[in-house]
Point group: C2
Chain length 364, copies 2
């Protein structure tokens, strides 16, 4: 035989198992993968030997052979050099958690990747074998998406893609319905002039939400009252909230599109001596639990990122495995308005029961 395969690495390979079990490589592979025609005795024997040797199949070799890596990319829009977006921390964290969980349950793992190619000297994207990718809020003609699709890799986006980006599928909230419902809620609570705190960027979320607001105003016969600011700037929100409440046509209710707007608006209201909810009704879009504990608790619109993340991954894996038909899929997910004190004129039952009387000292 010449140089019969010298022991080259510490870990046992399939050949070692075959030798130790006194069978062929084929038999080992079939036994461990539940394929082929083998009597149970052989199967058990091989499995036992493999266990004893601590055999772990090489993921790289399997991937090379089968063409499936079990890896799903998760791309996050990048501000500056950092991955992750800062404005929607809680949203992203929850979405990623659910996505990861859903992937794991189906035997896939998530790989966190930057929003752009060639962010570093190395191109991490082409160093990873991906079965598919989840893209959060892809931009108009996202180069990463374009390239992936060109390579024939399925791409599912969280957020309706702008333009004619050729994603395999997408998932998004029904933003129009959410905003309309929420404005109706405020109006029902007695709001006469509802203001909006929105963003200057042109992503789908901002655009659709603002459009829904404007359309609602038109239908309700109210003049729009809004301030826009660059949402990625953590300080600009407070300033914009202040501007909104400083206007001569000051609104008596405000909806803030971004997570920090709740505290921004609350702080601004305090500065102007406005009581919430008596003088000002407040709602903001947020996934953060802190708004249950603020004074007063603030009504929030939840986009249910968990459901989004889970759905995105399900659709992607379906596309990868060829399940669920070949044609593009889009799925609209409902949102959830969590009504708290800040959007109700009459003091309603609060969720947290106070052990003794809250003592509204000094309040009016």
């Amino acid at each position: 035989m010449g140089r019969a395969h010298g022991r080259r690495l510490g870990r046992a390979g399939i050949r070692d198992v075959a030798a130790a079990a006194g069978v062929s490589i084929t038999t080992v592979s079939d036994a461990l993968n539940g394929k082929g025609r083998l009597p149970d005795a052989t199967r058990r024997h091989v499995r036992e030997v493999a266990d004893r040797l601590g055999y772990r199949p090489s993921a790289a070799a399997r991937t090379l052979r089968t063409g499936k890596s079990g890896l799903i990319g998760l791309t996050v829009t990048t501000y500056g050099e950092e991955p992750f977006t800062f404005t929607e921390f809680a949203y992203f964290a929850e979405m990623a958690r659910a996505a990861s969980s859903a992937a794991l349950a189906r035997g896939y793992a998530l790989v966190i990747l930057p929003g752009s190619t060639r962010q570093s000297p190395y191109d991490v994207w082409s160093n990873v074998a991906l079965d598919g990718t989840v893209v959060i809020d892809p931009s108009d003609r996202d180069p990463v998406v374009t390239e992936l699709v060109r390579q024939g890799i399925p791409v599912v986006s969280d957020g309706r893609p702008c333009g004619d980006l050729p994603v395999t599928a997408w998932v998004d909230n029904d933003h129009e319905a959410a905003v309309t419902g929420l404005l109706d809620h405020l109006a029902a609570a007695g709001a006469r002039r509802i203001g909006l705190l929105t963003g200057t960027s042109t992503d789908t979320y901002t655009r659709l939400s603002t459009k829904a607001y404007l359309r609602w105003c038109e239908r309700a016969g109210q003049d729009p009252v809004y301030e826009a600011y660059p949402a990625h700037d953590p300080c600009a929100g407070a300033v914009a909230a202040d501007r909104l409440l400083a206007r001569p046509d000051r609104p008596d209710a405000v909806y803030g599109l971004f997570d920090p707007n709740g505290t921004d608006l609350l702080a601004a209201a305090r500065r102007y001596g406005l009581r919430v909810p008596d003088d000002l009704l407040l709602v903001c879009c947020s996934e953060s639990a802190v708004y249950a504990g603020t004074e007063p608790p603030i009504t929030t619109l939840s986009l249910k990122p968990g459901r989004i993340g889970s759905t995105v991954v399900q659709l992607l894996i379906d596309a990868i495995e060829g399940t669920g038909g070949g044609r593009p899929v889009q799925r609209i997910m409902p949102t959830d308005l969590i009504v708290r004190t800040s959007s109700q004129r009459r003091r309603a039952r609060t969720t947290v029961s106070a052990p003794r009387s809250p003592e509204d000292r000094g309040r009016s």
Copy 2:
């Protein structure tokens, strides 16, 4: 010749590039990887042809051959079936962001993996080729860590490992110093009896922090006043905060070990009619920015998760690449006390400048 490699896949392989450029496979590989002895002309030519063909080297093949995948595992402690821990959402999110960023900058990507093997029918762990792994808060004799180390894969942990877990390196905060410094700060602000809101679990963070508190009390000649609760239960915190303030030996200052404790304690204080900071000084350990916007703003201890995540990854990659000596490394990272109104008796300068006077309506 026989069946000279029929076109089998859409994507171009290294052979196609070689053929198109009129050189050998070796030359293509060398040209693209900057190895071998090739004149610049050849190198340029090959690169150009590769670009034209849209050639992307197969990550699986490269990994199989070189033994390096460029993938780093990120394991998150699991409560129940879900990955991620809920109590420290902000901590984890920031830590993961920084870790991912640091990895990307050095050409690695992070793979999110469950805290246990065989969480699903598939064992995702053995389906991924990892160069190394980051483990957050490993438990006493973590089976995942043990198995990885047995396979010779470097493991770096965030959090001092309990017991004699054989991690390659670890990074942690100086919890003793942090707690001691913070208690000194409270004492300097006039606290006579400082209470602690702590957890019932036995992880390193809780254990070290509590021990530091007890030792400080002993040195300061104060009786310890503390309540412990299961930190993973989101509701239990509010109850524990209430218990702490209901005690006959009610503390005049409290440190809360967990992120939500700030709002928990603030709410409890309101229920008992205690003014913060006048009647009660407050500090909690948190990475959340909301505490800058609460009423009053709350002093927080930041563990600087970003620095931790970044350092963990650096150490891991050093270990993978053989840089930085072979022996185990442990690194202690400083914490950051962000002093706000809640821990200062005399109204100090707040970080956020108020455009007009805050109007402390009705307050005493």
